[in-house]
Every structure is written in C-alpha cells, then in structure tokens.
Amino acid sequence: MKFNRKAFEYFYALLIIFLLWYMISQIVNINLIPSPILVIENLSKTFKSKLMIHVEYSLFRILMGILLSLIIGVPTGIIMGYFSKIDKLLSPIVYLIYPIPKIAFLPIVMLLFGLGEMSKIFMITVIVVFQVIVSLRDAVKGIPENIYYSIYSLGGSWFQILKEIIIPASLINILTSIRVALGTAISVLFFTETFGTEYGIGYFIMDSWTRVNYIDMYSGIIVLSLMGIILFSTIDFLGIIFCRW
C-alpha cells in the first residue's frame, strides 16, 4: 500500500511535467521542443529494441562509479571529519583538486585506463568522490562531542567508535551524499560515454543530438530521468530501513 502511494506520487509528478512540456511544446511550436506525445510514442516503440542495451551499460557504469566513490570517499571523509589533524593536511589538497574540471584530464585518464569501461568508471568516480568527501567530512565534524562520551569512557577502539557512533550518526548524511552523487554521476554519463563506446544512454543522447534527432534525444533523456528516479527511490527506501530511530 505504501509502495502504491509512492508510485502514485511519481506518476503524478510525471504527469505534471508532461503536461507542462506539452503546453510549452504547443505554445512555442518549434522543433527544439517536440511534443511529449511523439517522444513517448517513439519511446514505447523503440525502448526494447534500441534503448534497453544503452540502459544496461549506463547502469553498470553508474553503479560502479558510485560504489568506488563511496569506497574511497566515505572513509576519507570520515577520517578527515574525525581527526582534525588529518583534515588540516588533506583539505587543502581536496580544495585544490575538487574544482579542477576533470574532463581536461580525459586524455591522461584514457592513457592510463584505456578506452574501455575502466576509464569511464574512473571519470565518474573522480568527479563524484569529492562531493562525497566534502559532505562526509562536514557531517562527521557536526556530530556533537558529547555523543562520544559514553564510548570514550568504555574505552571503545577507533573501529568501535566508527561503527557505533560515527557511521550511524552520519548515516543520513551518507544517504544525502549518495543522492547528490547519484544525480551528478548520472548527468556526467554524458561526458564519459562519448568516447570509446557505442553504448550507454549518454552516448545515445549525444549521438541523437549530433543527428539533430530531438525525438530520440528526448526519449533518451526520459529514460535517464526514469533511471534516476528508480535509483533515488532505492536510496529513500534504504533511508527508511536504516534510519528508524
């Protein structure tokens, strides 16, 4: 029943967006904004035959990218948040590297990781990981000192402090940073799937764009959105499961 309600909410959101889109497309009536009806029609005809394979590739890349970012970013962020000395050492480095446009290093990344999956996943990771680090660091810094008191007095090891206090206390923030990371990861697909592949929803959109096929392009965008919604809902669901207190 709860699930039904959720599904209904998304359905309604989709409806609103399509309605707005439809109205705009009818008012301005230019090819740049095709009618959503045409797009959905196209999508329903070609999804299985044309788009499915792109979704599979992209999903794999996103999940791997996010996973790697979390594996690297969560521990780094937590350590920086908890040990202010390490924060002092690392945050200047993070601050220096974070704003660099990673796409400029695409050639180097391709040299290191080749033209295949590795370099795509690496690009996603390297873009997303900094957001994770910064969010986690700030979250851990924000844990009030007195929450630690009981475990200090019990002589908890660093690992126990991590497990019993830091991770649960920053779980909400971990989920938030996954959400933000996910959004970013999906939208950078676009840049990482333009080379060395003919699959991936990012490639599909870019290729449709080159071919000035806006109907295909918007179909791809819708698929990307839906992918996003499914992934976001998964996180919301995890949040409900894990943050029950």
């Binding site: 007195n146 929450i147 008191y149 009981s150 475990i151 200090y152 007095s153 019990l154 002589g155 908890g156 090891s157 126990q160 019993e164 206090i165 649960p168 206390a169 779980l171 943050c243 029950r244 207190w245």
Partner: protein, 250 residues
C-alpha cells in the same frame, strides 16, 4: 584504588581559560561509595569526566591502582547527567553497549541484562528507541547500561534525578544490593543530602566554583538496616545541611 592528586581542570572559553576544579585531592578505596555533593556548576560532572577518561587534559595526577586511567583496561560504568544514550540504538542495544564494547556478550550477560532491565521497569520498552521514552525511562536505561557492565568503577552523575520518589527508592535499594554483591567502587553525584547519607559510605562536600573539596565525612550509618528509622541518619543530614548552607551561600 582511585587516587586523585592535585587535580586542576580548566575549560577554554571565548573569554579565556576558566578554572573549574582547583587542586582536588581524593582517594576512592576499593568498594568505596563516595557521595559527591556540591552546588550547581561547581565541577562535579567535570570531575566524573576526568575519572572516566573523557577529559584528559588536566593538571595533577589521577591514577587507578597506581597507573593512569586506561579506559580500555578498566571497566568504568558511567551514568552521564544527560544519560548519553545513542538515539540509533534501541533500549536493549543501549543497555548492552558497555558489554559489547568490552566484547564479551555471552548468553549469561544477556540474561543479566534482561534481569536488570526488568528490575528497572524497562522490560516492555527493550525494543523502543530512546527518543520515544520519557525522561525517567531514559535515565533508567543509562543506569541499566552502567550496571549491566558489572564495572570495576561506577561513576554516576545524579543518576536518580529524573525519577519519582517510589522508583527512586527502588533504584537506591537495587544499587545497594548490587554494591553489596559486587563491591564496586562508586562515585556518585547527588543533589539530595538525604540520598548522599542514605547511600554514601563517605560524603564529599565541594565548594562553589572553582570547585575544591571542602570536607569528606565518614558516614557512620553506612550499612545500617532501615536507616530511615535511625536517629543518626537524620542527625547527619542536619549537620550536612548546616555545613552546606554556610559553605555555599557566601
């Protein structure tokens, strides 16, 4: 034995350093029950924080059986003034946290934990999260945690302050019972002179801020049965009340 020698603690505030405890000397013998009485803000909680290893920048020397405080080695049961419960752990999980950290959660422990929780009237709440408990229930969870650990040293910061009179007396009895059985060295802070005299083997009276120890009174009535029917009990209370009235109101 816990030995505090020349302990001075300062807090850093925006306006500079603020001396909270000044030259505290205190011995807590094995099996001792030291009741700590002092005016609000005199540094009682701070002293417990030092003894429990939470504060570790201070002047002076604090030793347990001759060596520095080692929270990993010593089992310190602590009831914090604000309870120190973890909101993401259920009552049961909070209660056995101490055992879990010391990594020895046997099935005997579990039984003991449930026994204590039951004695504290928390049986029906074991699966609740602290945020959904009343103030007094939370305080009892904190007490449960300290007792379930079967600590070497028990530090309690106003442990019964949020309990009604009946529950409070039950808790006091429970404490006395457990203390008798396990002979755990205890320091407990209280605002109630009556409680200090009822439970304490010795009673330490602190001065106003910056906190110093003004007097340590040996409680002659310790261990008596049905104390509240004894004259000495009331005499001691009156004496202490007189002392603190003089001491604190200047």
């Amino acid at each position: 034995m816990v030995k505090v020698e020349g302990l001075t603690v300062r807090y850093r505030t925006n306006e500079g350093y603020f001396t909270v405890l000044k030259n505290i000397n205190l011995d807590i013998y094995d099996g001792d029950v030291l009741a700590l009485v002092g005016p609000s803000g005199c540094g009682k909680s701070t002293l417990l924080h030092v003894l429990s290893g939470i504060i570790n920048t201070y002047d002076g020397k604090v030793t347990i059986n001759g060596e520095g405080i080692n929270t990993k080695k010593h089992k310190i049961g602590l009831v914090l003034q604000d309870y120190g419960l973890l909101p993401w752990k259920s009552v049961y999980e909070n209660a056995v946290l101490g055992l879990k950290i010391k990594s020895m959660l046997t099935s005997d422990d579990r039984d003991y934990a449930l026994f204590i929780l039951d004695r504290l009237g928390l049986k029906e709440f074991v699966r609740r999260y602290p945020q959904k408990l009343s103030g007094g229930q939370r305080q009892r969870v904190a007490i449960a945690r300290a007792l379930i650990l079967k600590p070497d040293i028990l530090l309690m910061d106003e442990p019964f302050s949020a309990l009604d009179e009946i529950t409070r007396e039950e808790m006091q009895e429970l404490f006395i019972e457990i203390q008798k059985e396990y002979k755990v060295s205890t320091v407990f802070v209280t605002h109630s002179v009556e409680e200090a005299v009822y439970i304490g083997k010795r009673i330490a009276i602190m001065s106003k801020s910056p906190g110093t120890i003004k007097q340590i009174i040996h409680n002659e009535t310790y261990g008596l049965k049905d104390k509240r029917l004894c004259r000495e009990f009331y005499d001691l209370m009156i004496k202490i009340r007189k002392d603190i009235k003089e001491e604190w109101s200047t």
